[in-house]
Structure formats: structure tokens, C-alpha cells
């Protein structure tokens, strides 16, 4: 009797945890979400059907994010792809009071001061988009195609370090994925392990 009860509890708990990840997968529909951006505007993923979308998890205080911003690498990627009609969404899933959490005005100041070029900065302080996408680190990158299908998730590049000197030596997975996607090829690296600071849920 006792054994069945604990097994049932375990099974129910397991069921509760499955939806978080079961919906997320390469070549599956990217989970829809709705959030407020840094200007208080409501933004949903489905608004962008017909365009490629890049999701970039960020925390301006994290040394790994600083690696890509202080070097200008992230801003260059943002400009390159937004000029090509890709929608770039920077997502901040830091909870209130935790490192990286900013209000809309401060997020806009950071965009300006760092010369960044995302289309929107989404304030995800409840962490709901982060959890839907199982975002673990900052940075953590995702590519969604025009049909809303998830094509890439993982690291920004191939050298896991906090040193900007490694950027030119690394393979940039965003560039690689975008190139293959545009050429209509299957991605050679659809999934890589992301590196960075943990998202401050």
C-alpha cells in the first residue's frame, strides 16, 4: 500500500515536471510566450511569424556577457542580423533583486550605452520564458525559423571562457546556424551546451 502511494506521488510529480521540457525541442514549434519589453510594450513570439527570431538570454553584470559586449561582438551580431530582417530579442530572466534584474528604463540605458541593437529587450523577471526555454546561462542563444520552429539552442560560440581574446579563435554558433538555415541546410550543430553564469531565477 505504502509502496503504491509513494510510486503514485512520484509519477504525479514526474508528470508535473515533464511539460516544462517536453514542449521544447529542435525541429519542434518554439514555445509561444508573451512579455513586456523595456518600453512596456507587450510582445509575443507569434507576432514574428514569417521572420527568423534570435533569443539572447542576458545579464549585463555577468562576466561571460561582458566578454561579448565589451568586445563589441554581441552588438555586431545584433546589427548584422537585424539589418537582415531577423528579429532579435534580448531576454532578462533575472528575478527582482538578483543580479542582472533591471527595469525598463535601465534596460534602455544599457542598450544605448553599449550601442546594442536588439529589436526588444524582454523583462522576464518571473522567469516564465526562461523556464519555457530551459535557459540556463547568460548568454544562452536560440534560433527560431520563419515558421516558428526551433532550430538552434546553446552556446554563442565554441570556446568556453570569459576572455574576449578567445572570440576570434572560436566558431560562432549563431553565425554557423544562420548560414546553414539561410542555405536551407540542416544545422550541423543544432544543440550545443551553453556556457556562462547561471540565469538568476
Amino acid at each position: 500500500m505504502k509502496g503504491i502511494f509513494s510510486r503514485l506521488t512520484f509519477f504525479l510529480l514526474f508528470l508535473m515536471s515533464v511539460p516544462l521540457y517536453a514542449a521544447l525541442g529542435i525541429d519542434k514549434a518554439a514555445p509561444d510566450f508573451t512579455a513586456s519589453d523595456s518600453n512596456g510594450k507587450t510582445v509575443s513570439l507569434k507576432d514574428f511569424k514569417g521572420k527568423k527570431v534570435v533569443l539572447e538570454w542576458t545579464n549585463d553584470q555577468c562576466p561571460f556577457v561582458k566578454k561579448h559586449y565589451d568586445s563589441g561582438n554581441m552588438q555586431a551580431l545584433q546589427k548584422k542580423y537585424t539589418q537582415d530582417g531577423v528579429v532579435w530579442l534580448s531576454v532578462i530572466s533575472s528575478a527582482k533583486g538578483k543580479q542582472g534584474y533591471v527595469k525598463g528604463g535601465e534596460a534602455n540605458d544599457l542598450t544605448k550605452s553599449r550601442n546594442a541593437a536588439p529589436n526588444h529587450v524582454l523583462i522576464d523577471s518571473e522567469g516564465s520564458i526562461g523556464r519555457k526555454y530551459a535557459a540556463k546561462t547568460t548568454p544562452h542563444m536560440y534560433i527560431i525559423d520563419e515558421k516558428g520552429v526551433l532550430k538552434y539552442m546553446g552556446a554563442i560560440d565554441s570556446i568556453r571562457s570569459a576572455s574576449p581574446a578567445d572570440i576570434p579563435k572560436a566558431v560562432n554558433y549563431l553565425d554557423l546556424g544562420m548560414k546553414e538555415l539561410t542555405a536551407g541546410k540542416a544545422l550541423s550543430k543544432p544543440v550545443t551546451k551553453p556556457y556562462g553564469c547561471s540565469v538568476k531565477y
Binding site: L24, Q61, Q99, K193
Partner: protein, 300 residues
Amino acid sequence: MPYFKKTSSRPSSILRLVSSCLCALLVMFSFAANSASTEKTRTKPLVTKPGATAPIRQPHIHVRLVSEHEVLVAGKTSHIGLHLVPDPQWHVYWRNPGDSGLAPKIEWTLPKGLSTKEIIWPWPEQLPVQHLMNYGYGGEVVLPIPLHIPSDLKRKEVSITAKASWLVCKEECIPGEARMTLTLPLGDKQKTSDYAASIADFKNKEPKELPLIGNEIEINENIEMKLYAAKAVFGQAKEIQFFPIQENLVEYGKPANMSWKNNVLNISQAKSMYYSALPELIEGVLVVDGKEAWQFSLRP
């Protein structure tokens, strides 16, 4: 020497008694708190004697090199330790850091003929972060590295340089790196240093090899492994923790379902989001009751 007044009125002597009791209690509590924290966090200052580099201070960490021997001998192996001392409540990472973080790394510059082997990793702790999981060391750690001196070395002394890099985190993370050079004399007889004991302590935390006589693996939404150990090491265990060495195998933030009897261990843990294919080699560390550790390896 206590000084007792010959004449004292009753109320003030009671007051003295109460205040001295309170003082004694305070002292006792601070000792208890101190000894609880020195288990993990170091409160003693780092002393530099022969066989160690002067500690380098970087944000939230002290780092130095320590040597098992203060005199090396040609033809013999010694151990150099990378001693990482994070500030209280800060931590550094294991070889597989888990969901985030970075393992410490060392690049050696050695005189001709000398060679080092891989870092000997003491068994790690689980460091949960919300629903995510990291693996590392919540206090000071010495990472021992075997150093071999060639038998034909004719020099009187050698300088060993390590460029160490690490990530030290609490809530936030601070990367660091330091270049440290240890110069040691050579002689006819090895002389152990004052650091040999602490190197030995951490070397003893290296997981012992657990030979397997068989294994079964099933992959569904979980990685399910059944290990048949050559020795009945699991029998009396109350808790076994599993730390995979290969990345992209299991989802670190999901707890592993462990069960065991005699020499058979079952591990079931959610498959990693980044799992693409079964690796050629699966290695893992099993920490039993926080007191001993085994390392298994299998080719699926």
C-alpha cells in the same frame, strides 16, 4: 588572575556572575560557529614556507601552488597542488561544472624533460542554484597534479610555472587567472614539505576505481543505468550521489533516482536537453554517504 574585591554588595556580585556567564556562553558560541565554518571555509591565514608560492589574492579567492616535496629527486614523481581558497560562501567548480560555471584549468610551462599528468579531482559536492545544478567545491580545495622528474636531470633546481584560470561564484561569478612559478631544488633525497599533508588529504578524496562486471543501459526520456560492480560496495550505504563526468548525458537539475543492493546500483536520471547520442564512454563518480567515492567507466 581574577581579582576579587574583598567587599562587594550582593546585587553587584550577582550582576558579575550573570555577565561572566553570558561572556562564557558568547565565547562558546563563537568557538562553535568558528569550528563549524572552518570545516569548509578557511579562517587561518595562508603561511608561505618552502614548497609554496606566495598566495595571490584576486576577487573572492586566494590562489597558490603548493608542492608535496620541498626537495625533488631526479627519476621520482612528486605532486604539485593548485590550492584554491574561495571566500566564505563562494565556490569553485569540478571537472564537470554542471549547468553553468567553468572548471579550473592549468597550463604548465616546465623545464625540458619534466612532465605533468592530469589533475586528480577530489570528489565534488552538489551546488544547487534554484532548479539548476552545479558540481564543485564549496570551500578550499587542493587539486593535486603528478609531476615527474626525469632520471637524467642534471640541474640543481627547477622552476615550474602554472597559468591557472578559474571561475569563483556565489550568486555572481568572477573569472580569474594567475601565473605562478615555483622554484624547487633537486637533491639526493625527497624532502616532504609542510604542504604534503594537505595534498595527501585531497588526494585521498580521489574516487577509487570501481571495476564493473556488467552493465545495462536504457535510454528513453531518462538515462537508466544498471551497474554490476565487481565488489559489493553499496550494501550499507544510506545515500549515493551520482556525478557524471561526460557532459550532455543527464539533466543536472533533475534529481537522480538511485537504488542499490549489494553490488548492483540502479541510476535513473532525466536525459540532458543537449543529449544527441550515447557517448562511447560513460564515466561517473559515486559519492557514498559523503564519506567515500568510486569512479566507474563503461562502454555502452
